[in-house]
């Protein structure tokens, strides 16, 4: 009699633990390795934002090019300039192929990062980098689509600083997720990774599954 109770309680505990782990994973939004199939864990999707020239844009405006999507904020003086510089280096390394890649820098701080603020920032590194902002709701939507964690943190005289997922996403010309790239990958390797995906997409024998 007792045994049945304990077994029931144990299964309930395991179930609860599993649910907790699933919930925690969905909150921390760690990008999955590329071996996970697109059907089970997707990144990217439709978005509606404003670019650094003040123009309203959607994800469809960038279809036709590979996009390199990454998140940051302009009051970040350390990681974001490094990432932007790496992206600029990647574009240079890609040479003519650089024209096929649109780097999209999405702010996680829409309250302070206006189009003008973004313009001054991204154009410091390369005129091809696009800065994107929007309403807090629009930013929340694109962050959800890319499973980006972002949060205000405040422990200094700097007002608030943003903690945020620092990974870069390579997306195909049709908007499909291709790969995620860690921010500390050397630009040369980033460029090689992009070239490889470009070659794969051109290959007639490519077996990449296309979503229906």
């Amino acid at each position: 009699m007792f045994g049945k109770g304990i077994a029931a309680a144990a299964s309930l505990l395991v179930l609860a633990a599993g649910a907790g782990v699933w919930w925690w994973n969905s909150k921390t939004a760690i990008p999955a390795p590329t071996s996970v199939t697109a059907a089970s864990l997707t990144f990217g999707g439709p978005f509606s934002l404003v670019d650094h020239t003040g123009q309203k844009v959607t994800d469809r405006d960038y279809h036709g090019s590979f996009t390199f999507v990454f998140f940051g904020f302009t009051t970040c003086p350390d990681v974001c300039p490094t990432t932007l510089q790496n992206v600029a280096s990647v574009l240079q390394l890609l040479g003519d192929d650089g024209a096929k890649v649109r780097p999209l820098f999405v702010t996680v701080d829409p309250e302070r990062d206006t189009p003008a603020t973004l313009a001054g920032y991204v154009t410091l590194f390369d005129p091809r980098i696009v800065g994107l902002t929007g309403t807090p709701e629009q930013i929340a939507q694109v962050a959800r689509a890319y499973r980006i964690h972002y949060r205000k943190a405040s422990d200094s005289g700097a007002g608030y600083l943003m903690e945020h997922t620092a990974v870069l996403f390579l997306m195909a010309p049709d908007g499909r997720y291709l790969a995620h790239i860690p921010p500390d990958m050397p630009p040369r390797r980033m460029a090689e990774t992009i070239r490889q995906h470009m070659a794969d997409s051109r290959s007639p024998s490519s077996t990449t599954e296309r979503p229906q």
């Binding site: 921390t28 760690i30 990008p31 302009t74 009051t75 970040c76 003086p77 350390d78 990681v79 300039p81 490094t82 932007l84 510089q85 790496n86 600029a88 280096s89 240079q92 390394l93 302070r112 003008a116 603020t117 001054g120 920032y121 410091l124 590194f125 964690h149 943190a153 422990d155 200094s156 005289g157 700097a158 007002g159 600083l161 903690e163 945020h164 997922t165 620092a166 990974v167 860690p182 921010p183 500390d184 050397p186 630009p187 040369r188 460029a191």
Partner: protein
């Protein structure tokens, strides 16, 4: 009445300046504390914050603590440390840095930096600005910070900028 300055004086002065080793020109020593190669990244026209980087070491037999910093170019200066854990980038304020002999502290991109909070005007590449570091023992040490490019990874001629083939770190010729 004209003042005739002997030509010899000019020669001596010039020789004296020329004799200074070039690397020493950007090293600051105040007793037991040595601060080398302070540099910063150029900031965007609308940027609120900037970052400066440098190396601090203490002379043999002495130790100290960096307890504060200030600069006329910003409202406040704080040391912050960047961490990227599980793909999430964070910055955390570091209230003080202990300096011990034989353990130089490098403030460099991706690690610790002096965050210049509330820039009064943009930092332009090529500019020079004063930064005052306050040490518990050594007191105030003023250094001149050189502004490099917006994405520079090190002071000019050392760790290199965006050169894709040279991402590995400091130029061996300048190791010290």
């Amino acid at each position: 009445m004209t003042l005739r300055i002997p030509a010899a004086l000019f020669v001596f002065a010039f020789a004296g300046i020329a004799a200074l080793p070039r690397a020493e020109a950007h090293v600051y020593e105040t007793g037991p504390v040595v601060v080398s190669h302070p540099w910063a990244r150029a900031s965007a026209p609308t940027a609120r914050n900037g970052a400066a980087y440098l190396r601090i070491e203490s002379a043999p037999g002495s130790k100290d603590r960096l307890i504060g910093a200030r600069s006329p170019v910003a409202e406040t200066v704080e040391v912050h440390e960047t961490t990227v854990t599980d793909g999430i980038a964070r910055m955390r304020r570091v209230p003080e840095i202990r300096i011990a002999p034989g353990h130089p502290i490098d403030l460099a991109p991706g690690g610790m930096h002096m965050m210049l909070i509330g820039l009064k005007s943009p930092l332009k590449e090529g500019d020079l600005f004063p930064l005052i570091l306050t040490f518990e023992e050594a007191g105030d040490v003023q250094v001149d910070v050189i502004v490099e490019s917006p994405g520079a990874m090190g002071p000019h001629g050392m760790a290199g900028t965006a050169m894709p083939e040279h991402q590995h770190g400091a130029d061996p010729a300048h190791k010290h």
